[in-house]
């Protein structure tokens, strides 16, 4: 029991330390919600170095590794995300220290609830891979290429860490991650809804949306399932929410007050970058799914003034730890080959593509090649989607027979055999609704979520079309992977509902003082409801 709880609490402490430089700019809510997942990435960092040092897991090396990770991340954030452009009398907003107790209570409470329930769900992947690779990692400290290839570094390292602290079967971290997803969705829906429809309606809507999400069968299952899906869903959601907060601030006072836009954006993009790092390391195909937040960022970035500092904030945060993990593995084993999972060459090519994207974006600030056109009318987003569709088309032509069978299984699982019940029919209807009605289509956050969901499905279908024919049941890889965007679907529901409630004037803020965050200037607006 102790190891299961301790690994979560240690991760929380590491995350708190790592995110210290941005805690005031992102505010207590985001700081605490992001802390545990960001701290969790530290375990992958530890494994990368225990392999180099050739020492098994033990407190000195793990403590040193986690401390190094926290200092490294805090250093990147202090260097990039806090450019010292705050203009409110040279003071940072006050950070309520008591929120640490609330966050600790939430994380420890969820962990203890899980211990009390003793419940977990598992398949062969859970015990044969995550737990046993964690065991091997704990015993030898050696993160080998086959571990990275079949399960990547993050979760086996977390299992190794829990084992070091006395756990025999690591399961508590998964419900804790699920609780983070729920709180993230709850907070995000509320923060944006409260601007449009006031606190009462906003609170009720946020509770309804989150309640609906957590009572779906796949969410309940993945809450307890010892696998990579809840953690991937959390990192993807955090990354997409981070980009949304950076470029489409909620508008209400909250944390925007007193903080200028560059500092606000950079801080959120730093959190986004770290979430991308988690997404990359959570699964062997995580490197491919990182294209979703990175492409989303690139599209928003063109339309939002093309500040080079934003590129040089997000990409170092996103790629430093994964590049270290993959770099060390490649240095030790060369270009490894692993049947039907992550090959060394895949890792090199995808990392190189992301680095090239960062260089291209940074360079385009100077060269302006087509940048003005990309910045207009969301052209960058359209180009991103067309490129993704083109990639999908190319993949479908490269292995036409298997690809077709894979697509058939994907459709079958989404709408019938994957265990999702009506969820994807509902999501499809919601997406059509948001695409058809201009009130929703015009809303930047709604549009961003639609693009993120579309990009994710195109990427996942391409990856699985190329590598798995699949099978028609819930255990199919694509079927399980599609869970990663479920929180985004419920965010889409929440934002769409609050937009329409405000537009229909059924619910609207009666009177408000709004700070316009996008300009960085304080101004007051009054809106009167019916």
């Amino acid at each position: 029991m102790l190891g299961n709880v301790l690994v979560v609490l240690v991760s929380l402490a590491v995350g708190w330390t790592a995110l210290l430089p941005v805690r005031r700019t992102v505010g207590p809510y985001a700081y605490h919600v992001a802390a545990m997942p960001i701290g969790l990435i530290g375990w992958a960092w530890v494994s990368a170095w225990t392999g180099v040092l050739r020492v098994p897991y033990g407190w000195p090396v793990v403590g040193g590794g986690l401390a190094t990770y926290a200092v490294l991340v805090a250093g990147i954030l202090a260097w990039r995300a806090r450019p010292g452009e705050v203009d409110f009398d040279g003071k940072w907003p006050r950070f309520p220290e008591w929120t640490y107790l609330v966050a600790l209570g939430f994380v420890a409470g969820t962990a203890l609830l899980s211990v009390w329930s003793r419940a977990s769900a598992f398949s062969a992947d859970s015990w044969a891979d995550y737990e046993l690779i964690g065991m091997r990692l704990h015993d030898t400290g050696s993160l080998t290429y086959w571990m990275v290839a079949i399960r990547n570094a993050l979760l086996p390292s977390v299992h190794a860490g829990a084992r070091m602290m006395g756990a025999d079967w690591t399961y508590v971290v998964y419900p804790v991650l699920a609780a983070h997803v729920a709180v993230l969705v709850l907070g995000e829906v509320y923060v944006r809804a409260v601007v449009r429809i006031g606190r009462g309606w906003g609170g009720a809507l946020a509770l309804l949306v989150t309640g609906l999400m957590v009572t779906t069968a796949p969410f309940l299952f993945h809450t307890l399932y010892v696998h990579s899906h809840m953690v991937s869903a959390l990192y993807l959601t955090l990354a997409v929410v981070g980009i949304g907060r950076a470029y489409v601030p909620p508008g209400v006072g909250f944390r925007v007050r007193g903080t200028d836009v560059p500092a606000w954006r950079n801080s959120w993009l730093a959190v986004t970058g770290l979430a991308v790092a988690g997404l990359v390391l959570a699964r062997p195909d995580g490197l491919a799914y990182a294209v979703v937040p990175l492409a989303l960022f690139a599209a928003r970035w063109f339309a939002a003034g093309m500040r080079r500092a934003e590129v040089t904030t997000l990409f170092p945060a996103a790629l430093t730890v994964p590049a270290t993990v993959f770099g060390i593995t490649l240095a030790r084993y060369g270009l490894w080959v692993q049947q039907d999972k992550l090959h060394g060459a895949h890792a090199v090519v995808l990392l190189a593509c992301y680095i090239a994207l960062a260089v291209l974006l940074a360079a385009s600030v100077r060269w302006k090649l087509g940048a003005a056109w990309l910045a207009q009318d969301d052209h960058a987003t359209r180009v991103t989607l067309v490129l993704a569709a083109f990639g999908f088309g190319l993949a479908s032509r490269s292995v036409p027979v298997d690809f077709g069978m894979a697509m058939a299984n994907i459709a079958q699982n989404l709408f019938h055999t994957g265990g999702y019940n009506s969820l994807w029919s509902f999501a499809l209807g919601l997406a059509v609704l948001a695409g058809v009605f201009p009130q929703l289509r015009r809303e930047p956050v709604v549009r961003q979520l639609l693009v993120a969901i579309a990009l994710f499905f195109i990427t996942a279908a391409t990856v699985h079309g190329l590598t798995h024919v699949g099978r028609a049941n819930w255990g199919d890889s694509f079927s399980r992977v599609s869970f990663h965007v479920v929180p985004l679907v419920f965010l889409l529901l929440g934002h769409s509902a609050s937009t329409l409630l405000a537009g229909s004037r059924i619910a609207r803020r009666r009177h408000s003082t709004i700070e316009i965050a996008s300009t960085g200037h304080k101004s007051t607006q009054s809106r009167t409801g019916p």
Binding site: A121, D139, A217, L423, L500, G503
Partner: protein, 195 residues
């Protein structure tokens, strides 16, 4: 006004869509039996969660019984038995070069499968040595150890023999090749000398 009307229409349509997830909830039921529902229309088609706490050995009985997986189950039980005695990683493990020597001869005995070499390596902290030796233990030796209270039995026909907590083991099997014995290196030597 047009915008307001359109919003109301869109809101009504959104409300209609919400019927889908809400109707799912009316069917919400996680089967209490561990068998999977055999039709895709069930609300819960996933594996049923189990209350196993933090015990890896408690996980195994809840897994589907597949002949292909039985060697893996048995190897994990064996590894857990030795790790519990060691209080951590296994310090040294000697196994016969031919792991099949530890398995039942009767091919129908799928519940008494051979060990899975991949897992033996994965769980033994890199301290596995394969040697050429006869792993069979005489019945009288096993009986003596049992009488002395040195034998701890585990599921899947695995037993551990040790006088005190230790991390060094040699793998043996009884004369029928049914039960695998993880014998502390010290006792294994004694048994070999006695033979």
């Amino acid at each position: 006004m047009t915008d307001r009307r359109t919003s109301i229409v869109a809101l009504l349509l959104l409300g209609m869509l919400l019927v889908l997830p809400l109707s799912d909830l009316t069917r919400a039921h996680v089967p209490l039996e561990p068998d999977l529902p055999d039709h895709a229309e069930a609300w819960w088609t996933f594996y049923v969660p189990q209350r196993v706490g933090g015990d890896l050995l408690a996980v195994l009985p809840h897994l589907p019984d597949k002949p292909l997986w039985n060697p893996k189950y048995r190897t994990i039980v064996l590894a857990e038995a030795m790790r519990r005695s060691a209080g951590g990683p296994i310090e040294s493990l000697v196994a016969p070069e031919q792991l099949a020597l530890l398995a039942a001869q009767d091919p129908s005995a799928i519940r008494i499968p051979p060990l899975y070499e991949g897992f033996l390596g994965r769980t033994s902290a890199g301290n596995l040595t394969l040697e050429r030796y006869d792993p069979e233990l005489p019945s009288e030796v096993i009986e003596r150890w049992r009488a002395e209270g040195l034998v701890t039995d585990y599921p899947r026909l695995v037993s551990l023999v040790a006088e005190q907590p230790t991390g060094s083991f040699v793998l043996h099997v009884d004369e029928d090749r049914r039960v695998i014995y993880a014998v502390s290196a010290h006792l294994s030597e004694e048994a070999a000398d006695a033979r």
